[in-house]
């Protein structure tokens, strides 16, 4: 029996450890710069790319071996990968001048840097010299489009909404409306002028930007002229020393953690997804804690114990077993359509038929998850309440405290560590959940974060990105999922790390509470 049970434990631990190891191993290696392999076939074709994996297969009934080469250059070849059988290979080289070029669009380019051009003329400046300023221009353009032009757009939209509000309130014939129309038109012309000015500035910057290009050549000589500003990162892959390799690795991690995704999420960063995941988990905790604690308080302290209460308890426990997608459907139907729709009718009639709250959003996704995890909190809290010593309650009553005073001042603080335990479990469950989110507010690419610098700063109605959904999207939904696979591991690693971090902080808080309220010595 000892062997059987022990064996079971060992097996389970090994499987979990294996899974973690796989994730950690693949996740950490994703960003390490790979060598560029040049393969010449017997037929005389040349291929250049990163070896992504190899496998055994059957060729004419005989066992054979082939390699998957990431040949990239999608804009020239029409695909990213190429299978090459070993028996076709005539020669393998590692050309020293081969470069890996990561681009803003079209994905990777592998090949050779032929020349650097300004205004179409070859110049003596190197790529490295021009790259920094070009990227600066690029970011400046992007920020202009996002911030200044976005500001004007927002102001115009605001004007339209104000007008509509007055129309809804007073009617089209009212003097207020007529006055408002005149005012709006005037203000709008001003804004349009501003818009045009900004547009001209952007066009100027773009034109300036387009002057700087680099000519890239793929291994068979076909060339492509590329704007320098749209190159994220480029390095001579076979020519890097260890320090440079580490540099590329670190810079990729940095981009991953702090930037927005590009190339249909398969490249770039996941900052919006990190942000969305953390924020959703926090909102969920904020919602589930009071809700669960109040419910547990009633069950344990106020309700009359009996068969009915036992039935309620069983129901609460079973709630944890309902498939999470069902919660998602409920969340969509109830929160998004009923509650959100109601809010829109009442507070945002001017925006209709575009829904504000009446569609998926971070608040509804968080509340749905709160619903999903509330049984965990209720059960944990009930246990913690039951564990508060009767002598403490009696002591409080004997001092003349009422029931509520006793609960608030003695029972709840004392039960707090237990409540935190429940919350930790709820967070661990909620942060890893994806299915219900997919229909209550998660999107593959959110244009804006739920928090920004515009009043009211917290936009709970916005849809958001989530690491769990990101994994699904990158790994299985993207057109170039082969290239996204390494990202799946990295994102998984990040998600696990994030949940661990959230849990650790909750555990830290719990231990401090425990020290304060429970830690007794005799």
């Amino acid at each position: 029996m000892v062997w059987l049970t022990g064996g079971g434990l060992v097996l389970a631990t090994l499987m979990i450890a294996g899974l973690l190891l796989l994730v950690v191993f693949n996740g950490t290696l994703t960003f390490w710069p790979k060598k560029l392999t040049q393969i010449t076939t017997h037929a005389g074709m040349k291929y250049l790319g990163e070896v992504s994996r190899s496998e055994a297969y059957q060729h004419d009934g005989k066992p054979a071996h082939r390699q998957l080469l990431r040949t990239a250059n999608f804009d020239l070849f029409g695909d990213h990968f190429k299978w090459i059988s070993r028996h076709d290979v005539a020669r393998i080289d590692y050309p020293a001048e081969a470069w890996t070029v990561e681009r803003q669009e079209w994905g990777l380019f592998v090949g050779f840097l032929k020349e650097v051009r300004i205004d179409g003329q070859p110049v003596s400046q190197t790529f490295a010299e021009l790259h920094g300023p070009a990227r600066q221009r690029f970011h400046q353009l992007k920020s202009m489009e996002k911030n200044e032009i976005g500001e004007v757009n927002r102001a115009i939209e605001e004007l339209r909404l104000d007008l509509r509000r007055i129309e809804l309130k007073r009617g089209k014939e009212s003097p207020e409306y007529i006055r408002a129309v005149a005012e709006t038109t005037k203000r709008e012309t001003e804004l349009q002028a501003e818009y045009a000015k900004l547009g001209a500035e952007v066009t100027r910057l773009r034109a300036e930007d387009a002057r700087y290009t680099v000519v890239l050549a793929e291994v068979n000589g076909q060339t492509k002229e590329q704007k320098i500003s749209e190159i994220v990162r480029a390095y001579p892959a076979n020519h890097l020393n260890l320090l440079q390799q580490i540099g590329v690795y670190a810079s990729r991690w940095w981009e991953f953690l702090t930037d927005e995704p590009r190339e249909a999420n398969t490249e770039g960063g996941v900052l919006p997804a990190i942000f969305g995941t953390v924020m959703m988990t926090l909102i969920m905790s904020l919602a589930v804690a009071p809700f669960g604690v109040v419910a547990a308080l009633y069950l344990r302290e106020y309700a009359k114990q009996g068969p009915l209460l036992s039935a309620v308890r069983i129901a609460v426990n079973n709630l944890a077993g309902v498939p999470s997608i069902v919660f998602g459907v409920f969340g969509l139907g109830f929160f998004c359509y009923v509650v959100g729709g109601g809010i829109d009718q009442m507070f945002f009639p001017e925006k209709l038929p575009t829904p504000t709250y009446g569609t998926g959003g971070i608040i509804w996704a968080s509340l749905t998850l709160a619903l999903l995890t509330v049984p965990v909190v209720i059960v944990a809290t009930e246990e913690a309440l039951a564990a508060v010593p009767g002598s403490m309650r009696e002591g409080s009553y004997a001092c003349g405290a009422s029931k509520w005073q006793t609960i608030r001042r003695i029972v709840l603080p004392r039960a707090m560590p237990g409540v935190m335990t429940g919350l930790i479990l709820a967070m661990a469950r909620g942060a890893g959940e994806v299915a219900p989110l997919m229909i209550t507010g998660v999107v593959k690419l959110a244009p804006e974060l739920p928090v920004d610098g515009h009043a009211p700063f917290l936009h709970l109605s916005r849809s958001f990105m989530h690491l769990g959904f990101h994994i699904y999207d990158v790994g299985f939904q993207s057109p170039n999922s082969e290239a996204g696979k390494p990202m799946v591991y990295t994102t998984t690693l990040l998600l696990i790390g994030l949940i661990a971090l959230l849990n650790l902080s909750a555990i830290y808080i719990r231990n401090r509470l425990k020290k304060r309220y429970v830690g007794a010595q005799f």
Partner: protein, 289 residues
């Protein structure tokens, strides 16, 4: 058995003279063997019966507790001492199955009357339990708990209450530098003295103690006993104990209960040296089954 027979009588005599006390308390202690008939009464129990469901635990109790004195309740386990003391502040109300008849009067005011506000009643009494039960908060907050729930927030009053109560509970010197630390970090004996400080903070009309030393080691017990002895005159104390020496050491009067009935109630000296009933004698001399 004979040792037990001797010891209470030996210790009973010096009870009123020996413990080192400050002058004031010694003066209030009566020089001659006291008599219940001379005492002013704080609490009167009238024909009190109590049932746990169908089981009767107290039978027609009638007795009066003197003001400013320490009265011990003794008797074998399960005879109803705790039940009686927990009836005085109606803590038994928390148990659903409890029913009672008869009444008690605290300084003339009914305890079990229909219109009595239980919370107000409990504020007029203080209680110390067998199991030390400091609250999960700082030492300071523990002491002023009953003031806090009354909404008292004036710092001067709170500070003064904390110092006075801890002084009287003989704890001030030990904790005055760490009033804001958690009460749960203290030793068992300190915790119990803190519970006493908490119980006297609101100046209760009667201080109830249910075996306050039974969970403490001998040194802590000694300190708490000395403290109880010093509280006489300031408070009317009713203390349950199953330890005869303790009853003899700390109390002025002793009531002996058996199976929910009051058997004998008299000055402690008398109960331990010259009991009026055979049952009492058997019990205090340890001859009891």
């Amino acid at each position: 058995m004979t040792a037990l027979l001797e010891r209470p009588m030996k210790t009973a005599t010096p009870t009123h003279a020996a413990p080192p006390l400050d002058a004031q308390t010694t003066e209030t202690a009566p020089p001659v063997p006291p008599s219940l008939a001379d005492e002013e009464m704080v609490l009167e129990v009238r024909d009190f019966c109590l049932w746990y469901g169908a089981k009767q635990a107290l039978f027609d109790l009638s007795l009066k507790f003197p003001k400013g004195k320490v009265t011990a309740l003794i008797g074998p386990s399960g005879c109803g001492k705790s039940t009686l003391i927990r009836s005085i502040n109606r803590l038994n109300d928390l148990i659903d199955s409890v029913r009672y008849s008869g009444d008690m009067l605290l300084n003339g005011a009914s305890i079990f009357g229909k219109t009595v506000d239980v919370i107000e009643l409990r504020k007029r009494t203080g209680m110390v339990f067998q199991k030390t039960n400091p609250f999960p908060m700082s030492i300071y907050e523990n002491v002023i708990y009953s003031l806090r729930i009354d909404g008292e927030n004036r710092k001067s009053i709170l500070d003064e209450t904390v110092e006075r109560s801890l002084q009287r509970a003989a704890l001030w010197d030990e904790v005055k530098d760490r009033l804001n630390e958690s009460a749960l970090q203290m030793s068992g004996g300190q915790q119990q003295r803190l519970c006493i400080a908490r119980a006297i903070a609101a100046e209760p009309e009667v201080l109830l103690m249910d075996e306050p030393c039974s969970a403490l080691d001998p040194i802590a017990t000694g300190k708490v006993e000395e403290l109880i002895y010093q509280l006489r005159g300031l408070y009317s104390v009713i203390i349950v104990t199953h330890n005869m020496q303790q009853a003899a050491r700390v109390s002025d009067y002793t009531a002996f209960f058996y199976l929910g009935q009051l058997i004998e109630y008299d000055a402690t000296d008398k109960i331990f040296t010259n009991p009026g009933k055979k049952q009492t004698e058997d019990y205090v001399t340890g001859r009891f089954g």
